[in-house]
Amino acid sequence: GGAKPKASGSDDEGLSVGIFVDNAFGDGDFFDQAAAAEKPLESDLDAKVNTYEGQLQAQNFEPLLQDAADANDIVFVLGFEAIDALIKVAGENPDTRFVFVDGTVDSPDVVSAEFRTAEGCYMAGALAATVNAAAGAKAAGFVGGIDAPVIKNCESGYTQGVAEVDPAQKVTPQYAGSFVDPAKGREIALALQQKGAHSIFAYAGLTGAGIFDAAKADAKISPIGVVADKSPLAPGKTPGSLEMGVDTVLLSLAKEFQGGDLEQGSQHTYGFAEGGWKMVYDKALVGADGIAQLDALQERISSGELKISE
């Protein structure tokens, strides 16, 4: 941290970057991925980084974003809940560049950076199918936080990914109705296991932690992580994770901004090619050739040879 509200950050010498999250860092997930950008930003662009935590107190979003606007040249905003406040504050502070990460915001004053969700989840599906095939299971579980567009996209990508590797496998989706309910996640994991699912992909924030917890505690399932490498949650049981390159995105956008070619209101999307997604595997669980095939598949996506519909 270390942000002191200033008249306006834009007139002081070095670049100063703000990172605002609607909840708080330390979620071991999306927000921490963003925080990872702090070091490279400081070293590569010798930028000064200020962080802001909304603590899910919507009352605070506006004041904090205003602080951010005052103290920084460019502000990255993460978290859906803050969109309204973002649009308002961005409108009021034209001399600060606001970037919303992980979604599009229809406002001329806000730059949007979106992840091609379906593309990422496609690979997660591919991994799931591969692991299932090895374990001889016929169903790949999918756990969604709430029934929201972005999650639906992911599900469809995931399903395509599974089909690509093994059309015989079916996907058993289930929605938790919450992003913060590990106990429920755990129950769902067990339920899906009953339905014959082996590998389970959780796109459900904290709720996902419950699935890894179940795996850790002797449930016969292979949980696949998203956003960050989740293997620490269930070591030796996690075949791999779909990592979200939030830090990469922040860094590249900050570079563009410094270079002066990040124009206002522009919209950017990220996939494997742009480092928006990357896969991490557990060799012991997936096997060398399994990984090789998956990498090949990922290569076809990056090269644009393989298109995934949303």
Binding site: E53, Q59, P63, Q66, F80, D84, A148, P149
Partner: protein, 375 residues
């Protein structure tokens, strides 16, 4: 269980007889000052300890926090903009407390109010702004009022303990609102559980630019004054107070205890609902599943610590606002989590509650020492 005695019954029932003639205002003011000083000191000491334990210089950190909270007019405006709904909520809870009805359901009623206001604002209009705002506020009040009145009726008519029923109602109401916001009423263009944004005519205009402080502040002032008159001065308030003070007395002198209980609960719920509506019309512009995030509970606490006296309530809320805001500032200037403020307020409230005895024991101690010296 039966009504548990609130004072430890091993102690004499009646309070020690007051000294012959009423203590002059000086004495009273003096005692007040002592009490306030005591609470402040406790708070500061604890804050320093906590901050120090996080490895920061207490004084500087607290100062920077206060700087952030009340450093300049805009900051002051922000600090209190945050508190507007809390003022209303706390006063709302206080109304019910006055008549011995404990409306612990403020949080839920705020959610209900917020949702009602959000829907009125989004699906009705745009209209002439004042009218639209009025409608939103009334809708919110109705939503909260109906819930509270219902529970109040259950208590007055069937003796269903309202402390517990309002407590439980929180979860039911909040979950139901969450269902609506995530399900049928969701703004489908959004990823998270929020309703449609309200029309601009259903939002209060900003008063101090870039501070979030809106004209709603006038509404709050009016509400505060009205509530003060109602509960402290008016006949209605007298009936409520007597009902709370001693229902047996009230009914034997011909006060309708039933009416007093239901009406005070209804109004309490109404005001809490209005507090919820402010979250939408004066700040968020739409309902979402985490909107009140504990403000209702804060209201309950503050109403308790202020012993449901309107003036004291307003003072406490102001103090609390500054604390919250300062904690936010501290969090930015350091790594001290802003939950600091919750820890502090808890400690301060307990300290305030224990104050009478602490002073008493202190006095006794001095008395003993004095007599020792004499002998």
């Amino acid at each position: 269980m039966t009504a548990a005695p609130t004072t430890n019954p091993t102690e004499p029932a009646a309070p020690a007889p007051a000294p012959p003639e009423r203590p002059g205002w000086r004495a009273v003011a003096g005692r007040q000052a002592a009490a306030i000083g005591y609470t402040v000191v406790i708070g500061l000491v604890l804050a320093s300890v906590l901050i120090y334990s996080q490895g920061y210089a207490p004084f500087a950190t607290i100062q920077s926090g206060l700087q952030y909270a009340v450093g300049d007019p805009t900051q002051v405006a922000r600090t209190f903009a945050w508190g507007l709904p809390l003022y209303v909520a706390a006063l709302g809870v206080a109304i019910a407390f006055r008549s011995g009805m404990f409306n612990i359901g403020a949080e839920g009623q705020m959610y209900a109010g917020a949702l009602a206001a959000a829907l009125t604002g989004a699906y009705l209009g745009p209209l002439f702004s004042p009218a639209h705002l009025l409608l939103c506020t009334l809708a919110a009040g109705l939503a909260g009022g109906l819930i509270a009145a219902g529970l109040g009726w259950l208590r007055a008519a069937w003796g269903v303990d309202e402390v517990l029923s309002t407590l439980l109602s929180n979860y039911i109401v909040i979950l139901f609102c969450a269902y609506l916001a995530i399900g049928p009423l969701r703004d489908t263009t959004r990823q998270s559980g929020t309703t449609k944004e309200v029309a601009d005519t259903a939002r209060f205009g900003e008063l101090v630019p870039r501070s979030g402080l809106t004209t709603a502040v006038f509404v709050v002032v009016v509400v505060a004054i009205v509530i003060w008159w109602l509960s402290e001065r008016s006949v209605l308030g007298y009936r409520w107070r007597m009902t709370g003070e001693s229902p047996a007395f009230a009914s034997s002198v011909g006060i309708d205890v039933f009416k007093a209980r239901v009406s005070s609960m209804a109004l309490s719920g109404f005001v809490c609902g209005v507090a919820g509506s402010l979250l939408v019309t004066a700040s968020q512009g739409r309902f979402w599943t985490e909107i009140a995030s504990g403000i209702g509970w804060d209201g309950v606490l503050i109403a308790l610590v202020a012993r449901s006296r309107p003036v004291a309530t307003v003072i406490w809320v102001s103090v609390y606002c500054v604390m919250r805001s300062a904690a936010r500032g501290i969090e930015q200037a350091s790594e001290v989590p802003s939950e600091l403020s919750l820890v502090l307020i808890s400690a301060i409230i307990i300290a305030a509650a224990a104050q009478a005895r602490v002073f008493h024991q202190f006095a006794q101690l001095r008395h003993r020492l004095g007599s020792l010296r004499r002998s």
